[in-house]
């Protein structure tokens, strides 16, 4: 029987063969297996997209048409306990734009054993979160007479972050330019300026500045959420910073995923971006209850990544790469494109759709594609 399957290996995609294997009844004669496979193959061949089929435009239509049905509400609470993420039309636009900065970054950090089984999960999560001085301050008081600023720290927060006051003082010393002396007491940091001129002014400035000093965690991560997926724990973060995340050895580097296309490209390469585009678009469509076949999204993702780098669907990305002057001009900034074409003496060979529409010639897709070859006498 496996021989019969082998015979169809290159003819039918593996996933379909697999499905046949699973659904095949226990007792099935070879002849019948052959018959089934032959029928599956026939049906598969019949469903092929024909040469000339304008799959690009069909894909654009399939994604563009339900665009009007999507909501504009930027934020969405996916369930009660999930994070705020940009969804709906704005997110789709963001993805297809290939933007470098996105609205709400998000990472899913899978963990290595034993952490993935839930060991210290809360603590681990908390240690990732970017914390600024502000988060640890309970109270700041300034003593004008002896020119001293006293910060009392929030002890419970310190404990979670596994920090001591003297360590914080050290970080502060590093984070702030010279001119201050730090002293620590139980849960209290005292700061005195060393400079002589206008120390009071300095100290007030410092009060604001000190709140912003980065203390611990990973930069850019504003929120963390340990979630149970199946039977393992995953940390979902708001804010994305794969590079710093990978420095931690409890992270499973093979499964970390971010919704930031640009970052994914930088670290995991363009193939990863392609998959992220598909996943992210599907995720949005799912929340909106819109049904689009994955092929259309794959095509867009492939177009965006085919050059080896991520290109947005705009005049700086895909459209810029088009070989035809008129096709570029018909999108945006036509005068600029025509002038540039003139300078380089560009030639438009009229290979794509829009130029041929412009000059009233048959468009080279669909029924406009085939030509007739005939012998002349």
């Amino acid at each position: 029987m496996s021989d019969i399957f082998k015979g169809y290996k290159d003819l039918i995609p593996e996933s379909i063969l697999e499905e046949v294997k699973i659904n095949l009844p226990d007792k099935c004669s070879d002849a019948k297996v052959k018959k089934i496979l032959e029928k599956v193959y026939q049906e598969y061949r019949q469903s092929f997209a024909e040469p000339g089929e304008s799959v690009g435009l069909v894909g654009a239509e399939s994604i563009g048409e339900p665009g009007t049905q999507m909501t504009l509400n930027t934020f969405h609470f996916a369930g009660v306990s999930e994070l705020n993420v940009t969804t709906g039309l704005p997110r789709i636009i963001e993805i297809f734009d290939g933007r470098k900065t996105i609205g709400t970054g998000m990472m899913e950090v899978y963990l290595k054993k034993p952490y993935s089984e839930g060991k210290d999960i809360k603590k681990l999560a908390e240690s990732i979160k970017e914390s600024k001085m502000e988060d640890f301050i309970q109270e700041i008081s300034i003593n004008i007479t002896n020119l001293q600023m006293t910060i009392s720290l929030n002890k419970s927060k310190l404990e979670i972050a596994n920090l001591k006051e003297d360590k914080i003082a050290k970080i502060l010393e590093k984070g702030i330019k010279k001119g201050f002396k730090f002293k620590t007491k139980d849960g209290i940091i005292e700061i005195t300026p060393t400079s002589k001129d206008e120390p009071l002014n300095e100290i007030y400035k410092l009060k604001e500045k000190i709140k912003d000093v980065y203390i611990s965690g990973i930069k850019g991560i504003t929120q963390v959420l340990p979630v149970k997926r199946g039977n393992e724990y995953v940390i979902v973060t708001a804010g994305s910073n794969i590079k710093d995340m990978l420095k931690h050895d409890f992270v499973d580097p093979e499964r970390i995923i971010s919704n930031d296309l640009y970052e994914m490209e930088k670290i995991f390469g363009v193939e990863a971006v392609r998959q992220v585009i598909i996943n992210e678009v599907l995720k949005v469509l799912d929340t909106q209850g819109i049904n689009i076949d994955i092929r259309h999204i794959m095509l867009v993702a492939d177009t965006m990544t085919m050059s080896g780098t991520l290109m947005g669907i705009n005049r700086y990305g895909i459209v810029k790469e088009k070989p035809s002057v008129l096709a570029r001009a018909s999108f945006e900034t036509p005068v600029k494109h025509i002038i540039n074409a003139a300078l380089t003496g560009e030639v438009d060979y009229l290979n794509s759709v829009i130029e041929n529409v412009m000059i009233n010639q048959l468009v080279p897709v669909g029924t406009g594609l085939p030509g007739l070859v005939t012998k002349t006498k």
Binding site: S47, A49, G64, T71, E321
Partner: protein, 864 residues
């Protein structure tokens, strides 16, 4: 002879370049020397801007260049010699770059000779490997690197700093460079060095960017309009050219007369201004040239760019004849692939039919009837291309001279092919091919089943109709675009056309509840168009299922589910064997748009033509049932019994108590936090959750207690229209109004409306509407509802342009991606996007949602 000529020439390619003065002069058919347009008799002045050598726009005149008349002459360019050279505004940046990176004395690029070759080689490589865009980027980088070089590596001349004073003045070391000087410098740059600048010496010499000769566009490009008063109103371009010619002449005169330098300079600047605004009237630093009325002139750049410009408006989008537009209205009696066309329109739109020996008699009858009686004919086309209108006077003569080879434009008739379209045309199903059905009235009629693909309703929507005029066009429309070819959406591979609204309710009632006398059944089926009643069992009373079975094919088998029926009822499973509906109910899950698996299977088994036929019958059957037995969604359907009112009030009361408890907990700080949320957020979310639950419970009470056989309930149950929440909102309680996913929290300081106390966190103060529509809303409730209503209105208004732009970008980026003969997916440049479409080459609309139904194949083989 032939009016439809075969394409015998095809444009192979278009080369872009900059026109040289020599080229302009050679191309020009007239030299323009005077700003005057017409002489006293109103005849175009020779050497003026409307010179007849530039083409004709008046009827009766003949072009002096090509001898053709109006509409035949394509127009010809002219030229003027500029007294002094001027900068071309569109090349200002390029000129600056060139001046900066070439030597001021020898004209060589500021790169040592050995390095030039290296640069050129590098550019060529980038151009070949990465494309023109990357090459341009590299050129820009080279240019920047040359800015700082102060000494020419070729002649050792030290270089001065050149700055630009926008828009067109170049200043070198505080001294102004005149265009003459610039031109001489640009002339000195050798061809070989140009390549480093990314310029192609074959297409452009840098000195051509400084104009010495200006091309004058043909008059056909700038036609004048004759006003009612007999006055002529000239085109904006003509005005602008007039300015240029006038100043140019003055400049010539002043130079010849030896006028002082300062006057010449002033005139020169003025000429520069006019030439600049001729090309672009929206240059940032220049005041735009205006009409006397103060309206800015629309010059060349403005003509090309933007949505209303030449490219997007005229070149990428075309207008058409043989089309009609009017309001649409529904007509379920039409077939799904038909369109009802008003007779008045059918008498205006025509189909050309070629006269042969065999149809001579047939077509003569049309001519005999003339243009005024339907079905007649409007025009006759003679083989020499002459078009004759058929009127009572010409009729006799035309009939006499009629011979094979003539073309008769006859009125639109039943069965003709037409394209039907509704904007916005967002997908290919927005324009489908229908068969014409000429009807009385003034609106287009369509079967309501095709509303879904067009996204049409009948609240005043208008649609367009086009009549293809050639056999080729008709064949393509019929084979590729007819409604039955578009049944399966390529978006998700399911049927997009199905039953809706009354058709679903009707079939639901019929197949679930009805038993009717055989006579009535026959009556019903006859009104659907059935004439053969063999399949209907011979008994006094027949069931609705038996009636339904008559209209499905005899050998059809189907298994499915009726979602409208609870799973403990035998009617939950749909079972069709040999064309008999044995159990199950026809509801939205079987017949509806985008879900009807029954339809999908009929489509697969019997093909599209048969499916359209069957769908039409099912649709009509549903409507006829309602028509014959009555169906009214009435006010009382939402009425509540005393008991359920009490029950609902109790549910809401309970919710209030729970919410108040939560608020209490919140105020005491005891509320259990949701992960990742603050106390306040947790409260809001939990209240929202609790109140929605209350509303759903109320809906459930209604669903259980309301009259199950009421017509409103029938619609809800069958999935035809409405849902339980709608019913609950009418009968019991509208529920929580959500604004941006939260309760309503906006308004005054610490409260939403002044009717509430400050800091009231209770349900009613934040948009919970306790009343139902049936009872009426209280003032504050109505206000909250208006808030969310306005918000959703705004959302729609903001979303439409955004999604429209996304769509345009997607379409533009992907439009030339197609499947090649080797089944790879490639773009216009032939680059492979995918090796197999969607990784398995399968077309979504040709398979079941992109999948092969393996189980079905196995079953069919095993059964045999």
């Amino acid at each position: 002879m032939e009016e439809i000529r075969p394409t015998y020439k095809k444009i192979h390619s278009i080369t872009f370049g900059v026109m040289s003065p020599k080229f302009i002069k050679e191309m020009a058919s007239a030299k323009i020397v005077t700003p005057e347009l017409y002489d006293k008799e109103g005849y175009p002045v020779v050497g003026g801007l409307m010179d007849v050598r530039l083409g004709v726009i008046d009827p009766g005149l003949k072009c002096k260049t090509c001898g053709h008349k109006l509409k035949e002459c394509p127009g010809h360019f002219g030229h003027i010699e500029l007294a002094r050279p001027v900068i071309h505004i569109k090349f200002v940046k390029e000129i600056l770059d060139l001046l900066r990176s070439t030597c001021r004395s020898c004209g060589r690029i500021l790169v040592p000779s050995d390095k030039i070759k290296k640069h050129v080689g590098e550019l060529e490589k980038i151009g070949a490997e990465l494309g023109l865009a990357e090459r341009r980027k590299r050129v820009a980088e080279i240019m920047v690197s040359l800015k700082t070089i102060t000494k020419c590596p070729h002649c050792k001349e030290s270089q001065l700093k050149i700055i630009i004073e926008k828009p067109t003045t170049y200043i070198e070391d505080d001294k102004r460079l005149s265009p003459i000087e610039i031109r001489t410098r640009l002339e000195r740059i050798p061809d070989d060095d140009l390549e480093v600048f990314g310029m192609n010496p074959k297409a452009v010499r840098p000195e051509w960017m400084v104009l010495t000769v200006l091309g004058i566009p043909p008059v056909t490009m700038r036609p004048s309009i004759t006003l009612e008063s007999g006055e002529r109103s000239e085109d904006d371009l003509t005005h602008k050219l007039g300015d240029i010619v006038r100043i140019n002449q003055r400049l010539f005169e002043n130079i010849n007369a030896g006028a002082p330098e300062i006057i010449i300079e002033d005139l020169w600047d003025l000429l520069q201004y006019h030439v600049t605004t001729f090309f672009d009237n929206e240059v940032a630093q220049l005041p735009p040239a205006r009409h006397r009325s103060g309206e800015p002139l629309k010059t060349i750049t403005a003509r090309i760019k933007s949505k209303e410009g030449r490219i997007r408006h005229n070149l990428a989008g075309k207008r058409t004849n043989f089309s009609a537009r009017t309001v649409i209205s529904p007509d379920p009696k039409l077939n799904i692939n038909e369109v009802g066309v008003p007779q008045v329109i059918a008498m205006k739109l025509t189909v050309p039919e070629r006269l042969t020996e065999w149809n001579m008699k047939y077509l003569k009858e049309f001519i005999q009837r003339g243009a005024e009686t339907y079905p007649g004919a409007n025009y006759i086309l003679r083989p020499d291309g002459k078009r004759k209108k058929i009127t009572d006077e010409t009729k006799e003569q035309l009939l006499e001279e009629l011979q094979p080879g003539f073309i008769v434009e006859r009125h639109l008739m039943n069965g003709d092919i037409a394209l039907f379209n509704r904007q916005p045309s967002l997908h290919r199903m927005s324009m489908m091919c229908h068969r014409v059905r000429v009807l009385p009235g003034l609106t287009f009629r369509l079967n309501p089943a095709v509303c879904a693909p067009y996204n049409a309703d009948f609240d005043g929507d208008e649609m367009n109709l086009h009549i293809p005029q050639t056999e080729e066009a008709r064949a393509e429309a019929e084979i590729l675009m007819e409604v039955q070819t578009q049944l399966i959406s390529p978006r998700y591979g399911l049927s997009i056309i199905g039953c809706n609204q009354d058709a679903i309710s009707g079939n639901y009632l019929l197949t679930r509840f009805m038993d009717i006398p055989r006579e009535q059944a026959i009556d019903l089926l006859a009104s659907v168009g059935i004439t053969e009643f063999k399949k209907l069992p011979h008994k006094k009373i027949v069931s609705g299922k038996e009636v339904f079975s008559v209209i499905i094919p005899d050998n059809f088998d189907f298994d499915g589910v009726s979602r409208s029926v609870p799973s403990d009822n035998p009617d939950h499973t749909v079972k069709i064997r040999n064309g008999q509906l044995l159990s199950g109910v026809m509801d939205k899950s079987n017949l509806g748009e985008g879900s009807g698996l029954l339809l999908r299977n009929i489509h697969k088994q019997y093909g599209r033509d048969e499916m359209v036929e069957i769908l039409g019958r099912i649709y009509r059957l549903g409507i006829e049932v309602l028509l014959k037995y009555g169906f009214t969604a009435k006010f009382a359907d939402a009425d509540l019994s005393e008991a359920s009112t009490v029950q609902i009030n109790k549910v809401i009361e309970e919710a209030y108590v729970d919410v108040n408890n939560m608020i209490k907990e919140y105020k005491e700080g005891n509320l259990e936090l949701l992960p990742g949320r603050s106390m306040k957020e947790t409260l809001e979310l939990r209240i929202l959750e609790r109140l929605n639950k209350a509303r759903n419970e109320a809906g459930k009470i209604i669903a259980d207690n309301a009259d199950q056989r009421s017509d409103t309930m029938t619609m809800v149950r069958s999935g035809a229209r409405g849902n339980l929440i709608n019913l609950a909102q009418m009968g019991a309680c509208v529920g929580q109004q959500a604004l941006r996913g939260e309760r309503i929290n906006k308004g005054f300081n610490r409260r939403t409306i002044s009717a509430f106390k400050k800091d009231d966190l209770g349900p009613e103060a934040h948009g919970f509407i306790k009343s139902g529509f049936n009872k009426g809303l209280r003032p504050h409730e109505m206000f909250f509802m208006a808030m969310t209503g306005r918000d959703s209105l705004m959302d729609t208004a903001l979303r439409t342009p955004k999604s429209g732009y996304l769509y345009r970008r997607l379409a533009n980026a992907l439009q030339d991606i197609k499947v090649e003969y080797d089944y790879t997916v490639r773009d216009a440049a032939g680059k492979i996007v995918q090796f197999a479409y969607g990784e398995d080459s399968m077309d979504v609309s040709k398979s079941e949602g992109g999948k092969i139904n393996v189980k079905q194949i196995i079953n069919s083989v095993m059964e045999k």
